[in-house]
Amino acid sequence: MSTLVDLFSYVAIGAGAIFFLAGTVGLLRFPDTLTRLHALTKADNLGLGLVVLGLLPHVAGVLPALKLIAIWLLVLLSGADASQLIARAARRGEPRSRPGP
């Protein structure tokens, strides 16, 4: 039973790490601020969600589990707001962002 739970955690956290890695690769490969934002919002949303999911079976009790989920939701909200602000700032500085690959 516990090996099964461990296996679930390995898979979920591993998949989360892969999404974070993909986000970073996107940051390096994409040409401008706006497209780079796309790469990073995804890493936070799904990568962190999967890491949290993988950690859930290993925390003692309901409260720490709720805390983990609260961390994820707070990162989602602040990430969405921050990326909107960065996008707006990047758009005002128009000449620096290039359209197309």
Binding site: F19, T35, T41, A70, L76, R91
Partner: protein, 158 residues
């Protein structure tokens, strides 16, 4: 009044989750803090349908799972784009008119677009959203109106 009470309840539950201590003194201190915060926020005029949209909670239980599904689906799409050797991006800006009427609805719609990988809301106003999409397919997904219709339904709370 009901909205004030539910604000205190939400604050207090959040406090308990973060605290994790159940001694009478600390619980009472948490409750007192929650009441004090809501009292101050009420004086600022923020305990209204916009600041504390608790009436939308039943509908949110339907909307959020759908949003989670969309986030996973499009995260996968963006990952494929990033890892593809040719890097097939077509950065696109689209403008469209959202059909929501309340501030809560508009903010929910704008943030849902940003949370969904591959699309970011740059400007959001009552008359127009400006959205940046990584691919033309992503841009079509935003203007297609599915999310718009769902947020409009969510906003009506029906």
């Amino acid at each position: 009044m009901l909205r004030t009470v539910s604000s205190v309840v939400v604050m207090f539950v959040y406090w308990v989750v973060l605290s994790g201590f159940f001694t009478p003194f600390l619980l009472a201190a948490g409750l007192a803090s929650s009441i004090a915060v809501v009292w101050i926020v009420r004086r600022m005029g923020l305990v209204d349908p916009e600041g504390h949209p608790i009436h939308l909670a039943p509908r949110a239980t339907l909307y959020w799972p759908w949003l989670a599904k969309e986030i996973v689906k499009s995260a996968w799409d963006v990952t494929k784009v990033i890892l593809s050797p040719r890097l097939p991006i077509q950065p696109t800006l689209v403008r469209f008119r959202p059909s929501q009427h309340t501030e809560v609805g508009l903010v929910t719609h704008a943030n849902s677009i940003t949370l969904t990988p591959g699309t970011i809301t740059i400007e959001a106003s009552r008359d127009e959203f400006l959205v940046h999409a990584l691919t033309t397919a992503g841009a079509e997904g935003v203007t297609g109106g599915d999310m718009d219709a769902r947020v409009a339904r969510f906003e009506r709370g029906a």
